[in-house]
Symmetry: D2
Subunit: 290 residues, 4 copies
Amino acid sequence: MILTLLIHCPDAPGIISAVTGFFHSQGGNIVYLDQHVDKQAGVFFMRLQAEFARDQYGDDTEGSFLKSLEEDFTSTCARQFGMDWTIHREASKTRMAIFVSKYNHCLYDLLGRYETGELHTEIPFILSNHDDCRPIAEQFGIPYYHIPVNKENKAEAEARQLSLLKEHDIDLVVLARYMQIIGPGLIGEFTNKIINIHHSFLPAFAGAKPYHAAFRRGVKIIGATSHYVTEDLDEGPIIAQDVSPVSHSHSIPDFIAKGRDLEKIVLARAVLLHLQHKTLVYDNRTVVFA
Amino acid sequence: MILTLLIHCPDAPGIISAVTGFFHSQGGNIVYLDQHVDKQAGVFFMRLQAEFARDQYGDDTEGSFLKSLEEDFTSTCARQFGMDWTIHREASKTRMAIFVSKYNHCLYDLLGRYETGELHTEIPFILSNHDDCRPIAEQFGIPYYHIPVNKENKAEAEARQLSLLKEHDIDLVVLARYMQIIGPGLIGEFTNKIINIHHSFLPAFAGAKPYHAAFRRGVKIIGATSHYVTEDLDEGPIIAQDVSPVSHSHSIPDFIAKGRDLEKIVLARAVLLHLQHKTLVYDNRTVVFA
Amino acid sequence: MILTLLIHCPDAPGIISAVTGFFHSQGGNIVYLDQHVDKQAGVFFMRLQAEFARDQYGDDTEGSFLKSLEEDFTSTCARQFGMDWTIHREASKTRMAIFVSKYNHCLYDLLGRYETGELHTEIPFILSNHDDCRPIAEQFGIPYYHIPVNKENKAEAEARQLSLLKEHDIDLVVLARYMQIIGPGLIGEFTNKIINIHHSFLPAFAGAKPYHAAFRRGVKIIGATSHYVTEDLDEGPIIAQDVSPVSHSHSIPDFIAKGRDLEKIVLARAVLLHLQHKTLVYDNRTVVFA
Amino acid sequence: MILTLLIHCPDAPGIISAVTGFFHSQGGNIVYLDQHVDKQAGVFFMRLQAEFARDQYGDDTEGSFLKSLEEDFTSTCARQFGMDWTIHREASKTRMAIFVSKYNHCLYDLLGRYETGELHTEIPFILSNHDDCRPIAEQFGIPYYHIPVNKENKAEAEARQLSLLKEHDIDLVVLARYMQIIGPGLIGEFTNKIINIHHSFLPAFAGAKPYHAAFRRGVKIIGATSHYVTEDLDEGPIIAQDVSPVSHSHSIPDFIAKGRDLEKIVLARAVLLHLQHKTLVYDNRTVVFA
């Protein structure tokens, strides 16, 4: 069994020594450790993976062993250093809902990866404000919910979204070119659990029609940005970015076509980092472990 | 003798045929041709290089041959299609002045390239608002003018700059991390002849301290942008951009250190494109020929 | 109607002028022209697009207009300069067969693009030496042929492949991680019409297991290469390449996972360039027009 | 005082806990820790930085404090786990000799960085098999030794090189486009202390004239590789690589010009990593800490 520990807490001397000592004393072999200190903010971040052999939990199940380890950690390291922390078991799969509008390249890409086994996840449903992508959902055998959104029904639509997410026990919402603003209620319930792809190199060209804006400005490189969604549109913590060169010879449709490849790769990269518990959010920035 | 022709004019059928026919009829062999049409604006751009053998100008000097060719071009193609055009002889070197403040990595890089023969240019002088880089100028044997700039003497400083540029017959001003705003008089006289390097991926983080702003925003990629200087700060036509990945583990000084390499490479790339007559400006964007 | 002309021929003065003059005289408006001269080899390459308005073919159909234009071109420019040339009509779709073995990420990616309308093509069938990808073909409603290949049946397998390709009138074969060597008969019939993706930065790590070899060598960047297939394994003309940074912290499975994204993007890029008639092959290299 | 510890040793449970405990008990605050396990080889690698406040060494000098700490480490962690290790003090500057032949772009770049203060190093001398770069050395006020190398004098030349390196107490030799093969005697004395820049994306195009070979192969990307020098030419452990896109439109001189920028950036990156004690060599590969 491999456990993944994510920590952030006020920086102090002795944290690494204490945590590695703790896992060592519990019989775990540390197979990964990376840490980061934000010196300005005085905050310590760590990701640690420890491996436990079958005979180390004795007669216990994995579950009861983990529970006891968590209790010990709480009363020792976590208390001593005032830690925010989570421990993840390799076995448990994240349950991920995909929201999409009409552009389907990110959806196809995520579903292809899902089928291929690249993503350690379950996809209980796809949700859209349009009915266009239903055939794709059917092609991949995934339930599809069509929840139209307009000026009048925003609150109601959000309520339906929230109830679906809870009913299906969703841990992560991926906005795969979902072109509606996510309501504050949903953001509040899924803090740092909603990943969006924006089709520009943020903070350049936030908002609508970024490729048109990039074309007008005459940039020589376009980009895509995946980020956690916060109430400030396109302002959330950035997880991954990538870019592609363009020239005067590219039209806006060329930008859009090149951008599709960027968008799907960057979104998938961010989703994968999240699923592997490699991201921590602090002060509207991310720590992304290698 | 190789001649380089740059054209822009209203788009119309038959331009390429007319221009290539013209050079063919003059005995030139076309060794390069690239063209671009901005369909929205209805503007045609072309760069063409034609080679003329020694015996083609007969008893004439290169200069008189060129003059006669230019007259013929003016009265035929140029008139017919209403062209803005220039013809450049390979032999003539651009005269380039470098403006710098205190950061000297771009200056060192340009001077190293100059010594190595990478740049087809002469550098009559280096100008600075500080005296710090004087030893570098001396090291490379290039005159150095120290023109301090402050609130009170802006107009006077600009007048001295302009007079130096004219006295030395300068064709191109390169701002190699020159941290003062260029006055409108100088911009007016050197339209599309002043190249700046900005240490961000424009339009993101225009203005002062872009690395600090990029750090605060938590971007995963930093960039640099070289552009022609216009009266709107950091808003001029972009010539070249490049980027470098960063992570949470990089501090602001790390951004600055990584950025230095970007800045010097991107600035040199833009300068080289300009010196090779590969850039055309239209509608605050550049056409950059390959 | 837009026509795309691809030419290569011995370099000579006056080609551009003659060709543009020809299209101008036929009433076409040249909307794209790019050319290249391989000076060492003395070969001229050109891609040109010309637009013809509806009233320019008079009572003719597009087909008869094109036929007449081709005849005129043959007897003028083509004869004068000894050209190899093709003219492509925008309307006609390339018919593309996909060969695949077990890895399915490139297949999913191509089919996603096909559904999205990114590829101007028809896909009459998918062919594999295994039966594993059949469900994907069914998911997308495309016929699937399972032709096992082993030491004994190579000739027979190749014969069946060839007969399928001819029966379905295939113009382009895409090897989307097809792990068998293509027979010389098939290569002979489809010269510069078979595109392969190799999972390394060729010529580094040709042959089997390139990610394992890259890991052993300790490279800091991995790559993928798409190329036309020739009889020399992994030695054909390169169409597109891309790379991705790696570090000591990446295992071979990490290389493979990162490589999948490279492979699918690079293969799709090459396929798209071919479908848009932007590639020319000469001397085992490609000219790839912008 | 900041100390940097580099370790490699057989992998075993408890190393991180023991080492961090050791530094904690000595009063150090761990400000950086990164580790890597090569699972196939069963080897553990670690880089750790610990900060000690002035009052922690009491009446001792830094030197005597460090000596005592090293003795303690030797008799505890190092012995227990069979470690290869080094501890570096921030204060001590690496003494770096530069070898160069005729191409001077890497030399200019390193000297520019040296002047700017980018490199934490001293440069006691520049050595060359030609006299061409002497003016550059003089320009920067650095001693220059001209040691010609030919078939007859190889052993003697190597002896003179070695004696200069020892006399000047050199820790690192940088081959900044030095076009002679380094003798085995020198390599033996400076194992993992000689950094070369090769002008290709190794292992592609090892040996002479890589840009010519890359051009003939028709690659779409060129690269540069910095590596530690071993007796196998161009086969040593890779420290850094980078690449740049090329196209059919680039001639061999274009490859060479683009390559210069790659070479100088990649060489400087490797030198900087070495000077910051961020590299470890194992099994002809490098671990490069962030």
